[in-house]
Symmetry: D4
Subunit: 225 residues, 8 copies
Amino acid sequence: MTDDLYGIADLDLERTARRGYPEAIYCAGKTPEQVRRIAAAVAERPDVRTLFTRATAEHAAAVLESLPDAHHDPDAGLLAWPPEPPPPTGGLVLVLTAGTSDLPVAREALLTARYLGRQSELITDVGVAGLHRVLAKVERMRQARAIVVAAGMDGALPSVVAGLVSAPVIGLPTSVGYGAAFGGIAPLLTMLNACAPGVSVVNIDNGYGAGHLAAQIAAPVPEQP
Amino acid sequence: MTDDLYGIADLDLERTARRGYPEAIYCAGKTPEQVRRIAAAVAERPDVRTLFTRATAEHAAAVLESLPDAHHDPDAGLLAWPPEPPPPTGGLVLVLTAGTSDLPVAREALLTARYLGRQSELITDVGVAGLHRVLAKVERMRQARAIVVAAGMDGALPSVVAGLVSAPVIGLPTSVGYGAAFGGIAPLLTMLNACAPGVSVVNIDNGYGAGHLAAQIAAPVPEQP
Amino acid sequence: MTDDLYGIADLDLERTARRGYPEAIYCAGKTPEQVRRIAAAVAERPDVRTLFTRATAEHAAAVLESLPDAHHDPDAGLLAWPPEPPPPTGGLVLVLTAGTSDLPVAREALLTARYLGRQSELITDVGVAGLHRVLAKVERMRQARAIVVAAGMDGALPSVVAGLVSAPVIGLPTSVGYGAAFGGIAPLLTMLNACAPGVSVVNIDNGYGAGHLAAQIAAPVPEQP
Amino acid sequence: MTDDLYGIADLDLERTARRGYPEAIYCAGKTPEQVRRIAAAVAERPDVRTLFTRATAEHAAAVLESLPDAHHDPDAGLLAWPPEPPPPTGGLVLVLTAGTSDLPVAREALLTARYLGRQSELITDVGVAGLHRVLAKVERMRQARAIVVAAGMDGALPSVVAGLVSAPVIGLPTSVGYGAAFGGIAPLLTMLNACAPGVSVVNIDNGYGAGHLAAQIAAPVPEQP
Amino acid sequence: MTDDLYGIADLDLERTARRGYPEAIYCAGKTPEQVRRIAAAVAERPDVRTLFTRATAEHAAAVLESLPDAHHDPDAGLLAWPPEPPPPTGGLVLVLTAGTSDLPVAREALLTARYLGRQSELITDVGVAGLHRVLAKVERMRQARAIVVAAGMDGALPSVVAGLVSAPVIGLPTSVGYGAAFGGIAPLLTMLNACAPGVSVVNIDNGYGAGHLAAQIAAPVPEQP
Amino acid sequence: MTDDLYGIADLDLERTARRGYPEAIYCAGKTPEQVRRIAAAVAERPDVRTLFTRATAEHAAAVLESLPDAHHDPDAGLLAWPPEPPPPTGGLVLVLTAGTSDLPVAREALLTARYLGRQSELITDVGVAGLHRVLAKVERMRQARAIVVAAGMDGALPSVVAGLVSAPVIGLPTSVGYGAAFGGIAPLLTMLNACAPGVSVVNIDNGYGAGHLAAQIAAPVPEQP
Amino acid sequence: MTDDLYGIADLDLERTARRGYPEAIYCAGKTPEQVRRIAAAVAERPDVRTLFTRATAEHAAAVLESLPDAHHDPDAGLLAWPPEPPPPTGGLVLVLTAGTSDLPVAREALLTARYLGRQSELITDVGVAGLHRVLAKVERMRQARAIVVAAGMDGALPSVVAGLVSAPVIGLPTSVGYGAAFGGIAPLLTMLNACAPGVSVVNIDNGYGAGHLAAQIAAPVPEQP
Amino acid sequence: MTDDLYGIADLDLERTARRGYPEAIYCAGKTPEQVRRIAAAVAERPDVRTLFTRATAEHAAAVLESLPDAHHDPDAGLLAWPPEPPPPTGGLVLVLTAGTSDLPVAREALLTARYLGRQSELITDVGVAGLHRVLAKVERMRQARAIVVAAGMDGALPSVVAGLVSAPVIGLPTSVGYGAAFGGIAPLLTMLNACAPGVSVVNIDNGYGAGHLAAQIAAPVPEQP
């Protein structure tokens, strides 16, 4: 049976190569030593774009040993190698967030989309408690092909945004908040129950997943057979 | 000890009489027969304003036997006797809601506030997915002393309203919705985590409690000693 | 202020008209009488495409009084008027499901996408317990621009599908199952934690939302400024 | 569209200025460096009253660099600038609490109400397990326009208080307790289910929100149009 | 090994006979036909006192076929045979409850204690929202050896009672309430977190268990070896 | 790719045929009409043993139309065709349960194991509140190769049994109980936390799964390569 | 009103004095400095027996400054002053536990009962996975007037014990365990659903509450009027 | 009664000796000092194979003091003494896992099975997002008598594996993941709802339990009477 299975694996690799989606190494569950070994292996495959996500300072140091020129964004806990993102194709990806506390997760989404080959922009300081700030950005929002909305606490922003645009909105609940925010459960539920159609949701604090999905949605449309 | 305790009880009764807050009979946990007996007793105390809440058709029939002129609002599941609300005093109470499904709960709040002596108005068809409808009502909202916002699903409306007005907002989560709305838990959590200050929350579907509280907040300011 | 707000409302209407997204009437929270009145109003606006979702037999009868030629899919609980879907534009939308029990929700997604103007297909009888059936459909999956995967119980199918394709996968958890499926919470959590990037999630049993989102993702790419 | 939106923003600012509600900087989600930058900006706007909430010792030091005369209450984790609260207007705000452990949250509520311009008092050592202490304070409670009741563990105090007074009671659940207190969920649920009408609830440990709401409720009654 | 095990069984039966604790048949999980067969078997063992709990009208009819003189309390869903309770021994068992809705569960506790041989009394219409009614009963409460407090909604009454007496208080949470009462979870948590020592808790609506335990606590003190 | 995939499918079918595991049709999510069509198809494949699980009376009637000689156990909601179980091979499967209420689920497990080819026995009326009854069965328990323990409420029996035998114990939590049993969550958690090693757990009320697994564990040991 | 209220307060103090129940200071929510001040005040009231519970090493040091001869049990986190327990009255209190990890909570219960004036004993190393150890202690268990059973993980021991004795069993769930033990929720639910009557439950890890309740149950029977 | 009970205890010991199952000391709830004392006692019983599980570095040092030649696997937190596993009997136990983060738990399962006398192998780097890797191992999987599948996040792997093999699959949910993985609840639920029969589940991170159970399932088949 192995031949057939290798065939599937080959197709898989072929897809990665063709679409330019980078490999992602999730550091949170790994020791710095394990990350160091992976980075050393990555250094020998310059043809494969690689992201290291959820990297602490220790993880980052381990990566930079083997890949000293990797791009490192400490706020987002992300390293990218090669350091230059690919030239953007497809549509615009916007990442919206209300405030300072959501920034790490929002930046992880932003950079992931960028290193997957999309033009991506971050708009901060928009929150439903100050609608005028949201409304001031409507025009730019309407130019996006995919919008990531990172929000903690009440998580109400994706509903509001989805009512204003026709692009898909990716709700990115964050663990910001306290008490009955329950580490992100409150905004997660809010987003799952969004009144406006056009909202879907990823896991709490999953900036990488949100950015990856936005990049897929805003990808250049493939040729249909 | 009884004398002292009777003293406290007297104070309590005195308060009810002075403030004009009606008695409320919660029908949901009672048989129609029990409600019938209570209504018969109420008929002999025309000086005490009485509400029957969460009344089914059977409950209502039982009430109307003894109190045939009671006001009956079947949508809200509420009966009031005497049927005329007291002349309004204090400030304006607004009840906002997004749609048809929240109406029963919203009307329960509306009528409760009215029978506790407040001018009260209902504004429907405002939802965060259609911000222009919310914004069109801002001027009226700013004239209220207390605003009840009934919302199911994502429960995002109280956050938005509280960002637009300076009056207290009472979040009234409803069990409208399905799936991850969890019978009202989702909007309850949203409201507890409202980004804008000025929002507090009552129990799911507790229209009576929201209307009562709004009437208290908008009450004529008592003379301070 | 009203002029400005009307302006926003106009933009909103303009968008609906331009994109051809139908109005949707969620019947579950409404009485048949309320639905009847809405259908009568709809009958006078033949330019606006309208869906009635979560319609019981009673709801459907109320709709068909005023709109006798509406398309009615009893399994999906959906009615559409005018009955013919618009000519398809944009990319292919696939709806996958494992078995008989997920069909109502899956069909709701399928028809929503179709009435929003997409070519849409349903593939049933694919489940992770029979991988060969999943793998047999890989080629067709890779031709889709958006894939809705409806699944109850373990909800594992979206993870598997997302590992095989590069299109976005919309996880649609269903309340099928018993015990520790908790009315759809189990598959909802599974999908939120999907190992493969490219999966986002909508509310439990929200076939309308999944189909709407898929139609947005697979929409013809708008002209960028 | 920007002109209209700026109009809304202006109204918003006008409201803040007119009502004297301070700005609040939630420090918990921010680095000391971010707080330092905000404090420096605040120092240039002496006309805007500002609160820093949930401030650790590091946050406080960062604030005091730019605003050395700010009032700092380490127990409440709160700093206020300018240090003097405004002269009190409106009605009395009472903050009740059972014991030592609820004090930080209770003080945050107390000071917030004070810096929003209300006369505010703290009454401690009242708990339902010692009813005589509660009853000994009834007279003072009846002079308040708004009462914040901070309670952890069984959270039973707001029910008891609401049965004794006619002013609105704001339930402020605290995360004090262990085991099945579930970090404040137990008192939160107790308060949401209060038997006595007149109780609403804010988020767990949300002293700022409770104090802000109490100040709104007890505000001088605005002129009605 | 069987001899030893039979020995344990014998001890067990001996204990039941000596202490006079009745057998209890929990009807809720059984068909009327199964209950009928059990009642027929019971009819042949007049020496063993038997309770049938959670009996619907159908269950009751099935019991009364074989045991026509059994005592039947439809509100409590309880039948007892032989119909006369044993002469009371030990101390007084009090059952307190706030209102009409808790009565079925409270009566189940009351009757269980009585048929296990205790003097038992029911006090209704005591709730924390009307403290004077609670305080009026303090004297009688202090004469009890065990107090069952049935309460739904906020479940605050056991805390208050335990602060007033030195007898053990058995918290009996009921599923009365709605929304965030969560079918009895709210009062269950309240009681588990009671501020006053001396409160323990049984399962939601478990009137039988509460009455049984109260009877054990108030039992005549056995001779110590 | 299809050739390879067909290969996997073939292996799968081959396995079913060789091991004699029946097909199972889960009726709960299907209409009687759908079950009727499946039964008609089954009637043409007498070589494949088939079970219909979770069958209501309507489902059963639909099955018996096409398969009039199918074995039907109404308590277990199960039909089997051909009606005779295969001659038993492998080891003994025991199914233990405490009482009447757990019987439907226990019988589903019992019959599933039997129709998968195992000798299977049911032992009822063993519960931890009557240890002597458990201990009286220890000898028979020690002869089993796999033991299914169905239990609701406190779910304590699997822990006790696993401490007495060396065969694997399959915990089968049932939804029997009320209140804080939470529809089977309580016994599910109890079993997951069993003090004794050797216990694993299946879904609440999943008698089919427990019986299937027991049959696999007690299967004749295959020849190892 | 104050006179009456003082009356209630007096009764309360009278009760404490008469029954010899010690004051308890819950240290967990207090700073060492706060505990130090309380201990200094306690030192001036040698007539009132006092317990300090949940005391860390820092708390203990603070207590011992003012009360150098206090009895200190570091495992239980408890200090008692005066150091000698009162001469035992009433019946025997037993505290059972399965293993090493439950010991701190079990000792807190044991010592609390002892300092409230009961003879109290600890039996360890009894768990349902080794029934013979449980059974070996049955004779001693049957001599107790109240039995505290501390258990984590599956929490099955109280059910088993209650089936063997006629004294009340106080279930004391502990947070020992991991994963699906959920910090004590699993044993808490198990105990609430105990099959055997005679079990009630206190909060997770609430050794003080369990010991206090046991002392109340086993108290000398008061003279009845 | 003691004689009989000693009999049961003897049987128990006899069983342990005969089957060769080691004693296991769960270190997590113990102090290093307690572990040290246990290790000293173990050193005097070389005939009883002993495992120390969940051992930190401090625990390990304490064990190695008395048992310097014990086998220590720091990743798995496990020590075994005597250090050599027994010669393998029975069938093959496989442990599958997706990635680096699940390794500690997987190794605990692997080593437990090995020290209970089974041939055991670990297969890593198989995940549902890369089906080809799973399929490449099917042949080896089909040679196992029991398969442990450790998985965090979506926990989908056991469903997929159980569809490919006929051996029992033990789902071992791990606390790997974040956000809505809820410390292992998400994979736990997924596994409980596995579509494929043949999956049962142990507690989150319970590698010891999974390995023990696998060893029981794959044990040499005992002689049947």
